[in-house]
Amino acid sequence: MLLSETARREAFTTLFSQMSPRLYRTALGMLGNPHDASDALQEAGLKAYRYFDKLQQEEAGPAWLTRILINACYDQGRRRSRTTPIGLEVEQEEAGGLPAETDWELVQALQTLPEEQRTTVVLRFFQDLTVPQIAAVMNVPDGTVKSRLHAALSRMRGQLMQSRREGVQ
């Protein structure tokens, strides 16, 4: 009992610590601000530990953890949409000065996408997953991933082209 409990905690700690930068990037892409991303990461970590026994194969750990994080982001997004009008929080945070290295214009463009399209783009670029890997995480066919990615990137390309044109004028 003592050994298995300790071993369980150690295995989880290793997986979670290794995955946490990727998970945080994903959460930031999904939620658009560091505070919510950090909350989602913590919520996902605690939930994952509670259900860690259900993880059958060690190699399935990253996809499993990613799925839990995505759900935590959906929950976080829903809680936020009940309390904060969309767009308001982002403007306030920008005024407070977010870290400069992050491409906030792009992160905010992501926030305008429908949830499933945003998840697909974030998994593709922020976690560097392939189309079949995204399909496995989201439990949809490869074709669905491709059509979501196509719709999302076309829209983002249009938005960014427009904002560049507006910036030039």
Partner: protein, 169 residues
């Protein structure tokens, strides 16, 4: 804008760009890239797609990971606290803070007392059950009811009490 003629270089570039939006990877064959670079019809779309994909890849790498260590620490602290009541390890108790050690000691004492009480209750029930079974067997063999046996067993004590009462009179 007029659709590109099927089979033309512009059309082939368009097909490649569609595939790039669906997979997130743009790899034009050299001769098509050369065409797109100088083509006023498909060139802008090619450059915008390439810019978007490279910006998405760059955005992931540029995300500030400042909040990650703190979020990970909070999760690991929390799961260590949750695990403490389940693990009665002296090693862990000596590693923790005095407050945590005191809490662990309290939990351990409560657990031991609970175990002792449970064993006592089981023994009491077992002794009662066995005694009753013996009395029933005795009744079947000798015809003496359990009540009579108990009365006979208790009579010496009653006699003493009566003698004391008589003496007091």
């Amino acid at each position: 804008m007029k659709p590109h003629a099927v089979g033309s270089a512009c059309h082939r570039v368009q097909m490649e760009l569609d595939e790039a939006l669906a997979t997130g990877t743009l790899a034009l064959p050299a001769e098509l890239a050369l065409h797109a670079d100088g083509c006023p019809r498909c060139g802008p779309e090619y450059r915008d797609t390439e810019a978007l994909l490279s910006r998405l890849r760059g955005a992931a790498a540029g995300i500030e990971l400042g909040p990650v260590p703190q979020a990970v620490d909070k999760v690991l602290d929390q799961i260590t606290r949750e695990a403490a009541p389940r693990v009665f390890s002296m090693v862990e108790a000596s590693a923790g803070s005095p407050g945590a050690q005191h809490r662990q000691k309290q939990v351990r004492t409560r657990w031991i007392l609970g175990q002792v009480a449970a064993v006592a209750a089981v023994l009491l029930i077992a002794v009662g059950g066995i005694g009753y079974a013996i009395l029933k067997v005795n009744e079947a063999v000798s015809g003496v009811s359990p009540g009579d046996v108990l009365a006979k067993f208790a009579s010496p004590f009653r006699f003493t009490d009566t003698a004391k009462i008589e003496k007091a009179k």
